[in-house]
Amino acid sequence: MAATEPKGHGQHAGMWVFPDVTVMSREVAEKTKSSPQPFTMALVATGILFILGIIGFIVRAADDGFDEIGPWGYYMAVFSMVFMVTGGAPLVAVAFRFTKSHWRRPLSRVSELFAIVGILNLLMFIPLMFLLPAIENPEGVVEGELFVRRTIWFEGPIGAPHAWDLVGVAGLVVTSLFILWLSAMPDMAECRHTATGFRRWFYSKLSGNWYGTKRQWNAQKAGLALVGAFYFMTLIFMQFVISSDYAQSLIPGWKDSIFPVIYTITSLHMGFGAILVTLFILRKWGGYDGYIGKSTFWSGSKVLLGITLLWVYHLFAFFITFWYGRLEVEQNIIKYLVTDTYGIIFLLNLAFSFALPFAVIIWNPVRRSDWGPALAGALLMIGGVMFNIRIFVGSANAAPGSDLYRAFMEHVPAPVYPDIWDVLMVIGGLGAAVFVYLLATRLLPVLAIWEIKEGALYQKWGKFVRGEYLVLGKPE
């Protein structure tokens, strides 16, 4: 293994790793090329799920067509699950690069690689464009109904919401891929010398004229900062758009300004959770334990704990305002999404998005392990699945037909349970996302080699008074 023994003492024993950067490039490049048996098996398994998902989609389309959004509630949910992960994960790399946190270095590429899964997300979005009902009431002015239903687009602009949603989702995917490209350029430039065949061609094309001059490094870092800031704003905006167009505006009378925020936090949950689970797998079974220290999990888990508390706080802010207000429409929405219709799913959502992960990572010894944060991440991803089912299946089936144009939700609809094709679409969609990610890890190094090498310059193990401690460089 290309690393010294992990450092740390007392409760921090084995917390920090100091990779041997002289062999890192070669070792990571070799791992990127190799396809061990467990990896191949995972690829085959997720590939099968992908195919099952496609079958489910085809049957659903053949049975129900694209006229009504109701039967596609579970498809909307799985789209949103993948959207949350592919949107939220790259943001983690962007955010902690901004804050110059050294512990982020092993997770940067792991998170950016989710941008490639974004392409799948874009493809999944195309059918949803056709499913979204028109803003204007097709029956014109009808008593008791709105002529223009409530949306964030009000009465314009032209093409809203369908075309603008597509432009937004596509823009987000392109921006995240751009970040991945910028970030991976130095690594590709290094690997092009040792790679062969397709990889050599691919790395040569994408790394362009990168030779690592000072000017190039400055341009790359400035580019990452600028595109990162743009990505952050685009992501937040698109999460507002998707959560409003495909959830809130489909439930008559649901006016909830905190919902886009809850959606964004759930997305961070799912994205960060996916990253921690991936890091754990890479550390435990991928042979990267010399590069991914426990400190990454430890620091990451503290952020995760904060996000988890934020999630429940925002949820409570929503709940108490509606519950205390006692307005009929708000009571109906609570009954529909929280207590009655999707009450069980809500409880599971609450358990997996807050109670269980909180119970896991509140303990410092658990946070200091690699399995604890990864377990919390896995729980949060399950919580995210429940959240999306509750919200999107609920929204798609809240107001069938022209009920969508009524001013308020007047009765509480019954739950919609999944049929076999829904199940196939959900597991197929998730399987497809993992399948694409696995392929991406064979294309690009799963660790940002340059970033870890840079980190090795800024982190030392130094003598202080009578002991040895971590010395952290803080560049401006």
């Binding site: 409760q11 409530r150 949306t151 909830d256 706080y313 305002t321 310059l457 800024y458 030392k460 401690y469």
Partner: protein, 463 residues
């Protein structure tokens, strides 16, 4: 290279205790001026209580005006203490060290000032006892069937604020113990006895340090939920009122909390700049600290702006007549629309534009201006939430009205600013506004890493 010169313990003690052991000449003059303003404001409040609310601009339906705006504003300022102290302590941000104490003390004083506002606003302050108590000796008119309603946020509010005040005082006191011991050893007579009592036998042994650190960490973690709950509950004073449509918004709680942090951290940055100037603490409150605060403020301001946009968008989203009437007043009717533009410009666009420039972040004059902008903007924000909502509360237009604050309200509001300034100045004479031990610890942990030809500032981290 490290910013600032290395400091030894003697120098830290001498320079940071200057505000206590050697009062500058201007001190008593400044105190007298501020005290006079406070006295005038108190007399005005007395006059108002004697004459009744007729001397204010409050009317039907705008029954909440400057006083409640000011109450929310000062509660907001108080959020800086925990934001800087607890969160940055837990996250081990090195640049927090000179800022924590001033922030914590500002928390305590702004909370105390905030709580005077609802008392004054009652018009008959002695009757506030009915908010909470129905004691046997309090002559309460049960015959009318009116009982103190524990289910109203107006009752949750004082409970939360007093909990926050108690825990903030505890938080400050625990952090002050080692510094009280330093003062105990450098004073004589009565001061020596008082500081000795407050130092609680502190000798600085390993066990005491360990306990003090654990207490600090525990209090940091425990105070965070209180900090969030306080402004959330303040927001629910408005958010739970379904009769005022523009107030009944689910986002109010986090929107208020982020806004509070925004104004509070700006206020702390401004206080630090003032302290640096008046006490000559250039070695302690360095440009890098103000720079770090400004960068934090960019994030906080952007978060705040996001919540603001959500609040406005979903205000229009519902397309309900009574809410649209409020939004029309806010955005299309002069002078409200002008105030609205000034508020958004001062709270977000102007300061963030300033903070994006590194040289502006390190220019203390420009930074002071930006921080003042934020606080004027945040004061206006509360005003523009409260007053237009009430002015358009009713569905029928003949019930609509406006609000014009009277000179009585202006004087009382100005008095609260003078009160906080006076209290800060007074406390600077009693406790060090920069924690001595925190600065010393930072100096010990400071080091450097050499990378090629470059020397990079670094710190030792135990964890």
């Amino acid at each position: 290279m490290q910013e600032g010169t290395p400091l030894n313990s003697r120098q830290v003690n001498r320079e940071l205790l200057v505000s206590i052991l050697n009062s500058p000449k201007w001190f008593f003059g400044a105190l007298a001026v501020l005290g006079f303003i406070v006295l005038v404001a108190m007399s005005t409040a007395g006059f108002m209580i004697n004459q009744g609310f007729g001397v204010t601009g409050l009317n039907r339906p705008v029954m909440w005006g400057f006083f409640i705006t000011n109450f929310v504003f000062w509660i907001g300022i108080s959020h800086a203490g925990v934001m800087l102290s607890a969160i940055l302590r837990l996250s081990k941000a090195e640049w927090r060290r000179p800022a924590t104490r001033a922030a914590e003390i500002l928390t305590v004083f702004s909370l105390m000032t905030a709580m005077t506002m609802p008392l004054i606003h009652t018009g008959r302050p002695w009757r506030t006892v009915y908010w909470i108590y129905t004691l046997p000796f309090v002559p309460y008119d049960y015959a009318r069937g009116i009982w103190p309603n524990v289910r109203t946020p107006l009752v949750w509010d004082p409970s939360a604020v007093y909990t926050y005040l108690t825990s903030s005082i505890l938080f400050v006191l625990v952090a002050l113990i080692p510094d009280f011991a330093v003062l105990r050893d450098r004073t004589t007579g009565l001061s020596h006895r008082i500081y000795g009592m407050l130092a609680m036998g502190w000798q600085g042994n390993a066990r005491q340090w360990k306990l003090q650190i654990i207490a600090g960490v525990l209090l940091s973690a425990l105070i965070l939920p209180v900090f969030v709950s306080v402004h959330s509950i303040v927001s629910w004073d408005f958010g739970m009122a379904v009769s005022v449509k523009s107030w009944h918004s689910t986002i109010f709680a986090p929107y208020f909390v982020v806004g509070a942090v925004h104004s509070g951290v700006s206020a702390v940055a401004f206080v630090l700049i003032i302290l640096r100037y008046i006490y000559g603490w250039q070695n302690y409150i360095r440009h890098e600290h103000i720079d770090a605060l400004a960068r934090l403020l960019i994030v906080v301001a952007t978060g705040w702006f996001y919540f603001f946009v959500m609040e406005v968008v979903f205000g229009f989203y519902g397309r309900e007549a009574d809410e649209i009437a409020v939004r029309n007043l806010q955005f299309t009717v002069t002078p409200w629309n002008i105030w609205m533009m000034i508020f958004v410009g001062l709270t977000y666009f102007a300061p963030v534009a300033i903070w994006l420039s590194r040289s502006a972040r390190r220019n203390l004059w420009i930074m002071s201006l930006a921080c003042i902008f934020v606080n004027i903007g945040m004061w206006l924000e509360r005003f523009l939430i409260i007053v237009p909502g009430l002015a358009r509360k009713q569905l029928l237009t003949f019930d609509w009205y406006t609000y014009r604050p009277s000179s009585v309200e202006w004087i009382i509001i100005i008095g609260t600013f003078a009160l906080v300034s006076m209290l800060m100045l007074t406390i600077a004479r009693v406790v060090p506004l920069i924690p001595l031990y925190d600065i010393k610890e930072g100096e010990i942990l400071r080091t450097e890493i050499k990378i090629g030809r470059v020397t990079v500032p670094a710190v030792f981290r135990e964890d």
